[in-house]
């Protein structure tokens, strides 16, 4: 599903922050991406989400060389990827429900066709009572859950999550991990970037460890 070959990344004329990354992310797989702060986890996620282009090497996503993709193709490919960012990126003028439903809306689906699904998911992540709340009045944990719900609602083929349990208590963290596992069981390849050892210890999965710009894989 994802293939990196000798991928390197540098910002501007700075040093290379990701070096010679060569790995595969198989379909239906589950992995944690970990490493110390500043190791390049977010940059690697951005490469996977096509919001950064590698300085060198080959990135192949869903069987296509990303360097050959046009803007519309990138947009189409992003509809197959869900992403949860550390800063949540919710739209402040939309309710929690509308934020979560946004991927469906962008796809042009009728509201009645996804209403039940969105409401169920919001209840599952504990936001059933906050559906009509605007993000500015949500707590950090609530925003994080809303961002996760938005990333998983369309059941993407690849889910990228950057510290998805960073702002929630351990109980809710476990519940969210269950959601990711459930999503993985239904066919989504999941990559969770975290340095939360407790979270990683809760589920036996492949670990991709970034250290000094290089990637070490522990199956």
């Amino acid at each position: 599903m994802v293939r990196f070959e000798n991928v390197g990344l540098r910002y501007g004329l700075g040093p290379e922050i990701l070096r010679d990354l060569t790995f595969l992310i198989p379909a239906h797989s589950f992995q944690f991406l970990t490493g110390p702060s500043g190791a390049g986890k977010t940059s690697l996620l951005r490469l996977l989400f096509l919001s950064l282009r590698p300085t060198r090497g080959l990135v192949n996503l869903f069987g296509q060389d990303v360097s050959l993709l046009g803007k519309d193709q990138v947009a189409n490919m992003r509809q197959r990827i869900g992403i949860v960012l550390q800063d949540f990126r919710l739209l402040d003028h939309m309710t929690t429900y509308e934020n979560v439903a946004l991927p469906f809306r962008v796809m042009g689906r009728e509201e009645s066709s996804y209403r039940r699904e969105v409401i169920d998911l919001l209840r599952w992540v504990g936001l059933g009572e906050r559906m009509d709340a605007l993000p500015p009045i949500l707590s950090g944990g609530e925003k994080q859950r809303a961002a996760i719900a938005r990333a998983v609602i369309s059941r993407p083929q690849l889910l990228l999550a950057d510290e998805p349990t960073g702002s929630v208590d351990p109980t809710l963290g476990r519940r969210l991990l269950r959601l990711f596992i459930e999503l993985n069981r239904s066919g989504t390849a999941v990559i969770i970037a975290t340095h939360d050892i407790t979270l990683m210890d809760q589920y036996e999965a492949r670990r991709l460890v970034l250290h000094q710009g290089r990637l070490h894989i522990y199956e």
């Binding site: 947009a75 509809q79 509308e98 991927p103 509201e111 599952w124 059941r155």
Partner: protein
């Protein structure tokens, strides 16, 4: 969107938590909130530009219509002038010249100016009670040409000089040429002003669009995250700008139409004054025909469309920068 597994299977199983009440349809907020686009200034700019463009177009239409009216009036007349000459009887020459004109094919009416008529023509300059015999004043003969016929002016001139050697015929060609060039210059100036107004509109709209995109950058980024293409994002903004353009066009075009609608009354206030009379002579009744109002309405729509086009162009250029 490619989805995995059974599309209808719920992603999460709520078990007993599943609400028993059916979910109600929701009013969805616009993806790009209208309030986030500072529209009032843009509506004012588009309205002012549309007003100026409409006034220009209306004035050009009035001048063109009046000029073509004068042209058709002047072109349907010819004037013969019989000058006093030594050893010739002016009265007899004038009568002979008038007779020649009457017998010329294509001429439908001949009006010779008598001595008294000529004195009246000169009265504003020389005063009344003038004894015209003491002055070498030429006699005029005005003839109306049948519309649609081409007069053989050379033959008329030849026949006329045989009976009155000091006679000359003028078909007002020089006047018509001058009028034509004046009308052409007016239309050219009008087009120039329209081009400037449209250019200013495009620049203003581009600035407003860039401002709106900068203010809504977080929305654009999130839309990119959820897989929206540039066209989808641009269309969310475009509908706002099209509406702003239409509002501005409607206000500016409507104000210009009202101005032309009331122009007759306004012209009435100035009638009798030198300025009013000059304007009346130049532009006639000052009122636009219905086709003129239609032209102004089409122009207002065109400016709204230009607003949307300029906005769209800027949107795509800005989206390229944001991604």
């Amino acid at each position: 969107m490619s989805r995995i597994g059974d599309e209808h299977a719920p992603l999460v199983d709520l078990g007993n938590e599943r609400p028993q009440v059916p979910a109600q349809a929701r009013n969805m907020s616009p993806i790009v909130p209208r309030a986030s686009i500072s529209g009032r200034a843009l509506v004012a700019v588009v309205a002012i530009m549309t007003f100026l463009a409409s006034i220009t177009t209306g004035a050009v239409l009035l001048v063109s219509a009046s000029a073509s009216e004068w042209q058709s009036e002047v072109a349907s007349e010819i004037t013969a002038q019989v000058r006093p000459a030594a050893g010739r009887d002016l009265e007899r020459d004038a009568a002979a010249a008038a007779e020649v004109m009457r017998t010329q094919p294509g001429i439908v009416q001949v009006k010779p100016f008598s001595k008294e008529d000529s004195a009246k023509l000169l009265e504003p300059w020389l005063g009344s009670g003038l004894s015209i015999e003491q002055l070498p004043v030429p006699r005029f003969i005005v003839a109306r040409v049948q519309p649609g016929t081409t007069l053989d002016l050379a033959a008329l001139r030849a026949r006329m000089t045989q009976v009155a050697p000091s006679a000359s015929v003028d078909d007002h060609r020089a006047w018509i040429e001058r009028m034509r060039s004046m009308t052409g210059a007016t239309v050219f100036a009008g087009i120039g002003i329209l081009v400037l107004v449209i250019a200013a509109t495009i620049i203003s709209v581009s600035f407003a669009t860039r401002g709106a995109m900068a203010a809504n950058r977080p929305i654009v980024e999130v839309l990119h995250f959820v897989g929206a293409g540039d066209s989808y994002i641009a269309n969310r903004f475009l509908r706002h700008f099209l509406r702003l353009g239409l509002e501005g066009g409607l206000i500016g075009g409507g104000a210009a139409m009202l101005a032309f609608g009331f122009s007759e009354s306004i012209a009435g206030w100035f009638s009798g004054t030198p300025v009013g009379d000059q304007f009346a002579a130049l532009l006639g009744t000052f009122s636009l025909p219905p086709s003129g109002y239609l032209a102004l309405a089409v122009q207002a729509l065109l400016i709204a469309a230009i607003t949307a086009w300029a906005s769209r162009r800027t949107l795509f250029a800005t989206l390229d920068d944001i991604d």
